[in-house]
Symmetry: D3
Subunit: 104 residues, 6 copies
């Protein structure tokens, strides 16, 4: 389900102890992934591209895995998203993300 995306360890803690933040995040997440014309899979590939471009390995791996598990996104599709990262964001972000892909 879509709510699972960023909902790792940090969010479990939020849900238990900060229900007002949790509700806002659920609302945000729903608005984010309820595109009017783009499907969820395309939006997910955009999310993968954005987090990979920031060089954040933890978030990138989480996005890749949730995309593969929830949406059957393939490695090939992820690599095509990372091609764009190479162009827009340079080699360190790209190679870091490709190393993750090679281990998925």
């Amino acid at each position: 389900m879509k709510e699972g995306i960023f909902f790792g360890e940090g969010m479990k803690f939020v849900k238990d102890d900060y229900p007002d933040i949790y509700d806002a995040v659920v609302g945000l997440n729903k608005a984010a992934y309820t595109g009017k014309v783009l499907d969820y899979k395309t939006q997910k590939l955009i999310a993968i591209g954005i987090v990979a471009a920031t060089g954040d390995e933890t978030a990138t791996e989480k996005q890749m895995r949730s995309g593969m598990n929830e949406l059957n996104i393939t490695k090939e599709e992820i690599v095509d998203a990372l091609r764009v990262v190479l162009l827009t964001s340079g080699m360190p972000a790209f190679t870091k993300a490709m190393r993750l892909v090679s281990k998925l």
Copy 2:
């Protein structure tokens, strides 16, 4: 054509005075936008998301315009990409990009 994407004022100068850089950029651009499974339009939407997430207005507008002109990407599709930016990158990046969309 795909080569047009980042090829504004800065690249004209590169093409004339630094042909070795220009050739590398053309090769990079071609590899980036020749996805094996994703089509060019999906990759373009990923590029729009990435540059919008960085808060770079000039690059974001350029990407949006080239996407609309070259690929008939609609405002609605761009907004769906920016929904992901809101989630991953916060309000300042999102509102900046939405203001651009509202003026396209």
Copy 3:
């Protein structure tokens, strides 16, 4: 009111055309600025520090102005926030923000 913070030109467009995003943003904004122990003014100073640290002039000026208008935050208080920006984020971000302060 707290809702006014990021709600410039871009958000007017969101409110009119994308009510589902607007509602999510209002919820997010409310959760963000309803601290349990910190008051709104302290949170606002944190927001000023964060956006100034990114070097985003438009967002920084907007935050500074809304802080001064809504919460009577003084220039002196903003400068004390920017001292932290100098330490954590370096000279370009700091001088850019100080130039904004000098013109408020």
Copy 4:
């Protein structure tokens, strides 16, 4: 003491081998945290917000711990600072920082 803030392993090396840099950093640190109107605790919360917004886990944890040890900043106050991070900087930075808080 205020000098302790960023003064982990890296700074020990600086102090021993590069006294000119060390002196500049001490001066910088002092100017940064000697606010005219904001107290040190408020400035520290701003610092926590800024580093958490960049997604830098090591620096964020260090800032959180020094804030709790030196200034008796509570988890609740840190969470209120991170609410602002969620709004300004998005989910990956927020959840990463919340996971740190949950383990403090």
Copy 5:
């Protein structure tokens, strides 16, 4: 003189109204640009690369101009620094900086 580097409009205001910050910045600036083995010109080229990589046009132009005026850094040398920006930081940062160079 080396003190001139970041010392634009924002710093004039700092010097007049916040002498304690000003002194810290002067100390920082001196420590930064008093390399033990690298000369000032090499350090300046590094500064140009770093600010160009962040995509900050204002700071990049200021660094380029001060490098050309103070140190007789040539356009050709700046372009060689920007080649590294292309590799490490991607096309938007690179083309933005190249456009600046083309107008110097």
Copy 6:
């Protein structure tokens, strides 16, 4: 050789499975490090400064090591590059990189 720079684990995978990307990266890398007037060592120091400024430890360490191995860049030269990082990018990036240097 110059091709070795970013060519860690991630690139081995690229070379084997995505020869078109690999070729583009080799071309990019060659154009980046074939300065017309700056020598490779100066460009490498710029690369070290840029990646250290982003706070990316993995990439920074890789750049430092390749600079020391390929080009006999000394610790002292790296520290002089990091002085610029302190000025332009703040304490967290600087201390992180200095800790790396202290362990090289």
